[in-house]
């Protein structure tokens, strides 16, 4: 709940049979100036085409979000009841997360009116003022609000964080927990996720998890994507001693950020041991194009006495200190008669090809080494 999503005011506006569009209640009082309302009223109490739409209008340094409602019935003067319960924020606020709240509120009020004339009845309408107050306070402080209105209706609202769409999960990706797995109450997750959780160890890739947990591949993919969305896991690549990595500019973060240093040393040290910053940094810097992890192990055996190389690589990938260099075979020469290459186009890495065809790296290497028409790019 950041202050950047602060709601400055909640208002209830309606079309009065004689006075026209007006603000009946607003919390805090007098927040919306006469001038502001005049400017935007056409977007608050609207023509029929705009009703039931989420409308956000920006004016005079403020953003107003509302959803105009129209309920038609003979019993109303002018045969229709028009109202709008909206929020006011600063113009720079990112208000996407507030939109579902507004929509839900308009739904609640509509239901209340249809069931018991909550709004058209002058007496019950007055209850709106304390309701608006409570809403404003609770949404700003906790981001959630549960408010019983009458015997049969309770308002439940929650501000949901907007997140980026997660990456597509490939079968050769390896999910690794960013937080300690044990911190989660497993029973809160769905069944599929619970079933695969024991196999998410930061080393098994999606295909392997699917096989060992006996869960269909696509279900595993979706479950992991869900975990990715909530930033509970991140994806790294399959670990092999033949892998090649190199440093990124972010490796300097290890020097600049004390907390990262601590986290790293804690993560990569062997059980019961504690390594030091120089050794770890030397190891990361020892990862260069052309150097395999196996090479690293033989060159830096002293530093690796206290470091688990698999954890070292894992941490480096998770924090973006290093990146994996993948091999991409490309068929460059072919005669007219042969089929166009399907996998050796430069678009598919060894990881992907091996996963899809079931070959091991060694087998693929042997196959391609002797083919003069194929070059291999690393990137």
């Amino acid at each position: 709940m950041g202050s950047y999503r602060r709601i400055d005011c909640i208002f209830f506006s309606e079309f009065h049979p004689t006075l026209g569009p007006k603000i009946t209640y607003q919390v805090p009082e007098e927040y919306i100036s006469r001038e502001l309302f005049d400017t935007v009223q056409v977007y608050i109490i609207t023509k029929p085409e705009l009703q039931n739409k989420l409308i956000t209008v920006t004016a005079m340094e403020k953003k107003l979000i509302g959803c105009p409602v129209c309920i038609e019935h003979k019993k109303y003067s002018r045969n229709a009841l028009l109202f709008n319960l909206g929020l006011v924020c600063d113009a720079r606020t990112k208000t996407c997360a507030l939109e579902p709240i507004v929509k839900k509120l308009s739904g609640y009020l509509t239901t209340l009116e249809l069931e018991s004339g909550f709004i058209s009845n002058e007496e019950s309408k007055q209850k709106l003022l304390p309701i608006l107050s409570t809403l404003l306070e609770e949404l700003n402080v906790t981001g959630a609000c549960t408010l019983p209105i009458d015997d049969s209706n309770t308002i439940h609202l929650k501000l949901i964080e907007q997140r980026k769409d997660p990456l597509v999960v490939q079968e050769y990706d390896v999910p690794v927990f960013t937080k300690n797995k044990d911190h989660f109450i497993k029973s809160q997750w769905d069944l599929t996720t619970q079933q695969i959780l024991p196999f998410v160890d930061g080393y098994r890739h999606i295909q392997k998890i699917s096989a060992e947990a006996d869960v269909e591949l696509n279900l595993v993919r979706i479950a992991v994507q869900n975990l990715l969305y909530y930033e509970v896991v991140t994806l790294v690549s399959i670990f092999q001693y033949s892998n090649v990595y190199c440093t990124t500019p972010k490796v300097q973060n290890l020097i600049d950020k004390k907390c990262l240093q601590e986290e790293c040393i804690h993560y990569v040290s062997k059980l019961g041991q504690r390594t030091n910053l120089r050794d770890v940094f030397q190891l990361y810097c020892g990862l260069t194009p052309g150097t395999t992890v196996r090479d690293l192990c033989s060159r830096y055996s002293h530093q690796l006495q206290r470091v688990d190389e698999r954890k070292l690589i894992q941490f480096g990938l998770m924090k973006g200190l290093i990146r994996r260099l993948q091999k991409y075979p490309v068929k460059v020469v072919r005669d007219e008669r042969s089929r166009p290459p399907r996998l050796y186009t430069g678009c598919h890495s060894y990881d992907e090809i091996c996963c899809k065809t079931g070959m091991s790296y060694k087998e693929l290497d042997e196959r391609l080494e002797n083919d003069p028409n194929i070059v291999v790019c690393w990137k």
Binding site: T58, I160, V168, Q252, V330, G346, V375, V376, K379
Partner: protein, 584 residues
């Protein structure tokens, strides 16, 4: 029979861009407008003057498909708010047309014709999945853009709105241009309405407006350009030029756009030793410039080269360095150039992780045409391991091959297939645990990292901003050059300077450095101490060379001598790597 419509001189006109919010459209779509709309409001009411693309009028029921809607129907189904669960199921996205069709001409005229007190400021209105952005002013056109778009995209669209608006306002004052165009538009609309009434076949009035009305054509062109290249160049009334670029469209690497703020930050960090690499050839670029462009720009384009750094460029083009920086930033912003380190044989290049190495890519084809007999994947494979240009060359090759090689490297750099690796150095002394009793507590200096434990040596950390500000943009820091300290030998002055420079280290670090055999040589120690502030992993070799006026071999020798307290790594320069790949 035509009704005469007149547009008041005091009327408001708005040109609106409309964009959809659908997050299911591919990324490119979020930066394109759905539609451009021109609305006027005055004493005679609100009127929609023009919109593009045209709304498709529903066909006769006999040929209607289930998706056809009457232009006046509201679009209610399928307007799902973006899926917050990140569900990757494919939903049928609403076509832009359907979204636009949901807003009739009349309703658009009503909602977009704002009150006069909203004039002169950015106007932003979001209705469900559609966002309108514009700049209503007296006689000024607004735009509408996507609800889901980045705030910076919105700002850019608003910017374009405003520019067109300013041009229109100017032309209106000068020769009532907008009034005339608006009259034309309304007249045509009227004609079409009359014809529809008599013929019975519905037609879009806006289609008829296009051939008759220059402003409509300009608006259509702006829309089309924004959707494709992201570069807009119009001549309002064939007179005033309005040019604009949407950086989000231009700066796309690896499928993601580079946000303008990141771009601007990088541009501010450019140094005089960087070079400007044009992305087009000189002739093509010069042809694109407007007639009244600055002669400095022309001179710069003619003089720049991949082997020349900005400082040399300033001298050769007879411009101030600051001016060169500004023009360079301008060219980069417009997607016409990128910043690199000047080409030289010691440069080490590697394949960029974002490079498209597919044999079917258009790049592969272009490469084959440009350099017959060579194919791109084979060339790229050679850069799989970092390779310097000097290693790459075959000394037995004819000079023409070498020239071609340079051309190929430049070609690949322009298409962001390669990036350059630089060497970065970091001071990290071995830890103390081997000698537990010797550590002395030092009063912590403000610039040091605090709270170290016994067994963890701290890396040298210069948190204070002033030390890094020595690297000024405008001139190499001659103060730190070797000139002063060349008095040689063990003079007390020199010794004291060395001591001062080493004073900011901890006792443990100082001891470790002094234990290095090379530290016995006062010259070496002095040099090391002087360069100490570069050894925190943020300054690459070439920068040290430039700032300190030193040769590469000198530095490399020094690093070698002190390797027991230094850690060296190679990676791309984060400042200019922005141009190679987008930030995370």
């Amino acid at each position: 029979m035509y009704k005469q419509w007149s547009v008041d001189l005091n009327a408001d006109a708005k040109l609106m861009w409309k964009q959809s919010e659908s997050s299911l459209q591919p990324n490119g779509e979020k930066t394109s407008p759905i539609s451009v709309i021109l609305v006027s409001s005055g004493s005679r009411g609100n009127k929609l003057l023009f919109r593009y693309p045209f709304q498709r009028v529903s066909e006769n029921t006999s040929s209607a498909t289930s998706k056809q809607r009457s232009p006046y129907a509201l679009n209610t189904s399928g307007d799902s708010i973006e899926d917050q669960d990140g569900d990757s199921r494919e939903q049928t996205p609403l076509t832009d047309e359907q979204l636009v069709a949901g807003f009739s001409d009349i309703i658009l005229a009503t909602i977009l014709a704002t009150k006069s007190d909203m004039c002169g400021k950015k106007f932003e209105l979001k209705i469900d999945n559609v966002r309108f952005v514009g700049h209503p002013t007296l006689l000024q056109p607004p735009h509408t853009i996507q609800a889901n778009a980045d705030a910076s995209v919105i700002n850019c669209m608003h910017n374009l709105s405003r520019r067109i608006a300013i041009a229109l306002q100017h032309e209106e004052r000068r020769c009532q241009y907008l009034t005339r165009e608006a009259k034309l538009m309304l007249a045509v609309q009227d004609e079409v309405t009359t014809m529809t009434e008599t013929d019975g076949t519905p037609q879009s009035p806006f289609r008829q407006i296009l051939p008759k009305c220059k402003l409509a054509r300009d608006l259509k062109e702006a829309y089309d350009s924004l959707c494709t290249t992201g570069v807009v160049r119009l001549h309002i009334n064939n007179w005033l030029e309005v040019s604009f670029c949407l950086p989000h469209k231009i700066h796309r690497v690896g499928g993601k756009h580079i946000p303008p703020e990141a771009l601007e930050r990088s541009l501010k960090a450019i140094r005089p030793y960087h070079a400007l690499l044009l992305l087009d050839n000189e002739k093509a670029l010069l042809a694109q410039l407007p007639l009244d462009c600055s002669p400095a720009l022309v001179r710069l384009i003619k003089t720049c080269s991949a082997v020349k750094n900005l400082q040399q460029l300033a001298q050769d083009a007879d411009l101030a360095l600051l001016q060169v920086f500004q023009i360079a930033a301008h060219l980069v912003y417009w997607g016409k150039a990128i910043i690199i380190y000047p080409l030289c044989e010691n440069n080490v290049y590697m394949l960029s992780p974002h490079a498209n190495i597919c044999i079917y890519s258009p790049l592969a084809e272009q490469f084959g045409l440009q350099f017959p007999g060579h194919d791109l994947p084979s060339m790229l494979a050679k850069f799989s391991l970092p390779v310097s240009l000097s290693e790459f060359r075959n000394p037995l090759d004819a000079p023409v091959h070498e020239a071609q090689l340079i051309q190929m490297v430049v070609w690949m750099l322009q298409r962001r297939l390669l990036f350059q690796l630089h060497t970065y150095v970091c001071l990290l002394v071995p830890p103390v645990e081997e000698e537990p009793g010797l550590r002395e507590e030092e009063p912590p200096l403000v610039t040091r990292v605090t709270g170290r434990s016994l067994s963890t040596p701290s890396a040298l950390s210069f948190g204070s901003p002033t030390s890094s500000d020595d690297m000024t943009l405008t001139s190499p820091s001659m103060d730190n050059s070797s000139a002063e300290l060349q008095t040689g030998g063990d003079s007390p002055l020199n010794k004291r300077m060395t001591e001062t420079l080493l004073a900011s280290l901890t006792e443990h670090e100082r001891q470790a450095i002094l234990r290095v055999p090379a530290a016995q040589n006062p010259e070496d120690l002095r040099l090391f101490a002087r360069l100490l502030h570069y050894f925190r992993g943020h300054h690459h070799l070439e920068e040290i060379m430039y700032n300190e006026n030193m040769r590469r071999s000198q530095l490399k020798t020094l690093f070698d001598k002190f390797r027991s307290v230094l850690v060296i790594t190679n990676h791309e320069d984060p400042i200019i790597s922005l141009f190679q790949s987008p930030p995370d």
